[in-house]
């Protein structure tokens, strides 16, 4: 399932990366100020379309979306 991390990391780098910010699987995204809560919504939408899952709003907390590792853990919970 490591490819989930790769997919998420690629998306996050494309969406939020720039020359000033190197993003890794551990980079704090929201608490680090790289991703705002609006953009989190589009990330959630991307994951739901990509993996054909539905992530309830109560699970889509800023904490759960704070790094690629955490997002991958969340996604894996919903992939049957």
């Amino acid at each position: 399932m490591d490819d989930v991390k790769d997919v998420i990391l690629k998306y996050v780098i494309e969406e939020y990366g720039d020359e000033d910010h190197v993003i890794t699987n551990e980079t704090p995204l929201i608490s680090g100020g790289l991703v705002d809560s609006f953009s989190m919504v589009s990330l959630k939408r991307f994951l739901e379309v990509k993996y054909k899952i539905s992530i309830p709003d109560e699970d889509a907390s800023p904490e759960a979306f704070d790094s690629v590792n955490k997002i991958a853990d969340l996604v894996k919970r919903f992939i049957s």
Binding site: D18, D20, G33, D36, F38, S39, V41, S42
Partner: protein, 415 residues
């Protein structure tokens, strides 16, 4: 007592946390009218100090302009002090509607509705005109009031990278299934001083059937050849669907704001925008002052021309001295220091030299992007700018940052 020690302790702890994080904001008491020269009590209880203000939004120097003050007095005499009503009950005077027409003509739109502030305009407009079938696509650096307004609206929202038109186009393609698409920008970004590429935004909006929203609070009155705003600078007057702006900056600096744009959208705000429906009408004294401010602007471009000259002079002086500035051609000139503590120390030392300018750091700006934000005014004379430059250079030498690169400053002070 409902306000128990337990409750008090919760707030005291939160305030302590703000203090410890170095984020506690302290007001400085100004004992004079807003102008280039002001008298300030800071810290509280200290003797008054005469300083040059380079951090006000008083772009055109109209905040204490004698004609504006006189007009406000006359408004007070002829229309009274307060309206004691929201607009649609009994809070609309002839001068409210007059100002709405003046703003419409000035901005080149179809109609205008006044709000108590631009914060209120931004808080009310999205909820009034969009629903859950729509998408708001905002630049990632839009003002906090827009962010709050979008939060109050149940339309879906997404962001695009600051000023990145390719990214915006991708988002527009992605959301073609939506009923309405709105592209949301600031005209001038207040922390960086750069401007939206409204010509390119309009091109994309036309290609992908989207509305264009711009908050021109840091532009109305002085950006563009005749000061209409960012849409004039970009050659797209008449193509803005929604402009929000404030009267609390260049246009007299008191308060009040508006939504100006397509007549149906403005009418929807009149019917549904909650800050319009549930907050008092703008006071007549302010309306009268704003009307005079527009009259002054229509008379000549002298003030915005002087502001432009001042901004060029200031930018050139700081650049030649070896400071790193954010690129741009607006009267917002951020002097980059990168390190948060350095920005605070620098601001404090400037104050010691009689220059009032504030240091900004995370979370107001991105981490490692701390700066002194300077703002020029048509109220500044050359001697103000020369004295301020002298102080900046003196403090710059003290911290040994003149002529240094970003990497060198970060190496010296950290991020």
């Amino acid at each position: 007592m409902s306000y128990s020690e337990h409750t008090r302790g919760i707030y005291q702890q939160q305030l302590n946390d703000i203090h410890e994080a170095g984020l506690f904001k302290q007001e400085r008491f100004i004992h004079s009218p807003q102008a280039a020269d002001i008298e300030v009590e800071f810290p509280s209880g200290a003797d008054l100090k005469k300083v040059i203000n380079v951090c006000a939004n008083n772009y055109l120097g109209l905040s204490s302009h004698p004609e504006v003050v006189k007009a406000a007095h006359e408004g007070l005499d002829t229309r009274g002090y307060g309206m004691s009503s929201v607009r649609f009950i009994c809070g609309t005077q002839d001068i409210h509607r007059e100002l709405e027409k003046v703003v419409t003509d000035f901005l080149g739109t179809e109609d205008t509705i006044l709000f108590p502030s631009c914060m209120d305009a931004n808080a009310g407009v999205f909820e009034a005109i969009l629903n859950k079938d729509d998408i708001m696509i905002s630049d990632r650096l839009v003002h906090a009031s827009i962010v709050d307004g979008m939060r109050l609206c149940n339309a879906e929202h997404d962001t695009y990278k600051h000023g990145d038109m390719e990214h915006l186009e991708k988002k527009l393609q992605q959301f073609q299934d939506k009923r309405l698409r709105v592209i949301i920008n600031d005209g001038v970004y207040s922390m960086d001083g750069d401007t939206a590429k409204l010509d390119e935004v309009v091109r994309l909006a036309e290609a992908y059937d989207a509305l264009v929203f711009v908050d021109d609070s840091h532009a109305s009155g002085f950006i563009g050849k005749t000061g209409l705003g960012t849409h004039e600078k970009c050659g797209v007057v008449g193509k803005m669907d929604i402009i929000t702006t404030t009267f609390g900056k260049a246009l007299g600096g008191a308060s009040g704001g508006c939504v100006s744009g397509r007549k149906e959208i403005v009418e929807m705000c009149r019917q549904r925008a909650r800050p319009y429906l549930f907050s008092n009408a703008m006071a007549p004294v302010i309306i009268s002052g704003v009307l005079k401010a527009f009259e002054i602007l229509k008379r000549s471009t002298e003030l915005r021309d002087k502001l432009e000259e001042n901004a060029h002079y200031w930018r050139r002086g700081l650049t030649e001295a070896g400071f790193i500035l954010k690129k741009g051609d607006t009267p917002i000139v951020p002097v980059m220091l990168f390190n948060a503590k350095l920005s605070q120390d620098f601001s404090r030392d400037l104050y010691g030299e009689g220059i009032y300018a504030i240091g900004f750091f995370f979370p107001v700006v991105a981490k490692g992007q701390a700066r002194i934000r300077t703002q020029l005014s048509a109220g500044h004379e050359k001697h103000h700018l020369d004295k301020a430059l002298e102080a900046f250079i003196k403090i710059g030498k003290k911290y040994q940052i003149l002529g240094k690169s970003e990497e060198e400053i970060i190496a010296m002070y950290g991020l």
